[in-house]
């Protein structure tokens, strides 16, 4: 029974070959793979026993899970029924309490070394890790324990990937990212607050298809989704290039879809696929909805200055700084001026009258 392949399972469940290939094609296009790869994806998926996925939720808001449920290709139901075995996931799993913990332990035991560990949420190290516990076990401890048997770790969301909101200054609980703790496992970061659903599923699909993680950038993000900045792919980019900016919300520029740079858009420094993949099955995305990108997939974006301050504008109170500096300059300058006047007056006063007799050194 356990040895049934995916394609066999699908056929049993009345999923047509065509439907299956459609999914494979969607996966391929999402990951920017050539059509030639579709049969390979199909072959890989067909062979697979649904891999076990253990999803640990730490200091999180469940937004990442909510985002996952919005995935339309593959769908959440497709994913959990056909492609993965989601063996532990607080928000979705039926079992609770000991039952839930047993499910986790069983999945680990049965799939040791093979399961995928997905983490959302940061891990608090303050107060001995007591700031967050599940079943009486600290997040830190649980992460280490589950990571040990994982084939790979997917840090979903900016909290797990980079520390996220809990790590925002002053980081009250000493929150850290998964990669700050686990050093000996392949980790792929899927940041975003939350991440784009198809990006989460796309990474899982890539792993299922090829048995390895997609190519990652220096922040361990899959290049295929995080290789370009929002700004570079933004449909409003031409307005930026033309120097046409919305000056405030609901002004003429805003209505015409001009660039939101001046309203604080962090698109230029944000690497994510929002501008191309869009959200909610291509319905829209923040910039399309008239609000600048807040940079939610970038490390420490919470502390990167005000969301409504243009990237080129300092996020401190420049006016006050100028006044302070002006006052300081006037004070130092006044002191220097007094000194200069004194020196100058001294030089003029001490200046002796010169007669022709004083001109020659020899004289």
């Amino acid at each position: 029974m356990d040895d049934l392949t995916l394609s066999e399972r699908l056929r049993q469940r009345g999923v047509s070959r065509r439907g299956f290939m459609k999914f494979c094609a969607a996966t391929a296009s999402m990951m920017a793979l050539p059509p030639l790869m579709i049969p390979k994806i199909a072959a890989a998926l067909e062979k697979a026993r649904r891999p076990s996925v253990i999803w640990l939720s730490f200091q999180e808001c469940t937004g990442c899970t909510e985002s996952l449920t919005r995935s339309h290709a593959p769908t959440i139901e497709g994913l959990i029924f056909d492609h993965i075995s989601l063996d532990y996931h607080h928000t979705l799993q039926a079992a609770a309490g000991d039952g839930a913990e047993h499910a986790r332990e069983a999945a680990m035991k049965e799939n040791w070394g093979k399961y995928i560990l997905v983490v959302d949420g940061s891990i608090p190290l303050g107060e001995g890790g007591n700031y967050s516990a599940i079943a009486g076990i600290s997040n830190l401890h649980m992460l280490k324990e589950v990571a040990e048997g994982a084939a790979a770790i997917v840090s979903v969301g900016t909290c797990a990937a980079f520390g996220g909101l809990p790590m925002a200054k002053p980081n009250p609980t000493g929150a850290v990212a998964v990669s700050d703790i686990i050093k000996d496992k392949p980790i792929v970061n899927v940041p975003g607050c939350p991440p784009i659903p198809t990006v989460i599923t796309g990474v899982l699909a890539h792993f299922l298809t090829f048995g390895r993680l997609p190519e990652l950038d220096h922040l361990h993000r899959p290049k295929v989704f995080f290789g370009q900045s929002i700004h570079d792919r933004c449909y409003r980019r031409p307005f930026y290039e033309r120097g046409q900016f919305a000056e405030t919300f609901d002004d003429e520029g805003a209505r015409k879809g001009w660039c939101l740079f001046k309203l604080g858009c962090k698109g230029p420094t944000t690497y994510n696929a929002c501008a191309t993949a869009k959200w909610n099955q291509g319905t829209s995305w923040p910039v399309e909805a008239g609000h600048g990108c807040i940079g939610c997939s970038e490390p420490r974006f919470w502390d990167a200055g005000g969301f409504y301050q243009a990237l080129s504008v300092p996020h401190t109170k420049v006016g006050e700084t100028v006044l302070t500096a002006g006052a300081a300059g006037l004070a130092i300058g006044a002191a220097a001026a007094v000194l200069n006047r004194k020196r100058k007056a001294g030089a003029v006063e001490n200046r002796e009258t010169i007669t022709v007799k004083d001109l020659s050194k020899e004289s």
């Binding site: 046409q244 000056e247 990167a304 080129s312 420049v318 006016g319 302070t324 220097a336 100058k344």
Partner: protein
Amino acid sequence: MDANELLAWARGPGFDIALIIFVAGMLLRLLEVISLGKKPDLSAPRGSGVEGGLRTLLARSLPRKAVFDREPLRIINGYVLHLGFFIVLFMYGPHIALFQSILGFGWPALPSGVIDAVGAITILSLVAALVFRLNNKVMRFLSTGGDYVAWAVTLLPVLTGYLAYNHLLLPYTTMLAVHLLSVELLMVVAPFSKLTHMFSFAMARWHQGYKAGQRGVES
């Protein structure tokens, strides 16, 4: 410190520090100059000093043929450099946003493509300025370490801005942070280098022009 932290620092404390040094330093420098005073001219005026001061303030921006004919390339390059710098500084949308945040008002931006091209030209012009400085015997003779520092801190913002805009060399965020830091370096260095001329040139022109105006001579 990762790129985002660096950028946050450059947009926060870094900018504040630089701005304080720039504003306070420049005020200090200007007050140092002004405090030395100037005696009134008792000779019978032939014209208006104020008129002459204002005229020179503007007219000196144009070269005299006598010297232009001798050094056309250097003078043209000087224009390209200054105009390029000003266009990039004052006509690029994101820069305007910065001035808007300080001044409370903005102005229309030029298309980024124009800024990009002007930026490239400005960089070339700055490189040319260095070549002139190294090759022209007068400039080489006059040059001190300060001249090369001033050149470098002027080039860096333009260069890093260009690299950032075109996504060259470093990841954008890092390059943007480096760009801001280079601007801050410029702001820190400016009051203590010949870059004070950005303000003191006006005083200098005014003084010469005022005197010329009083005498009814051209300047």
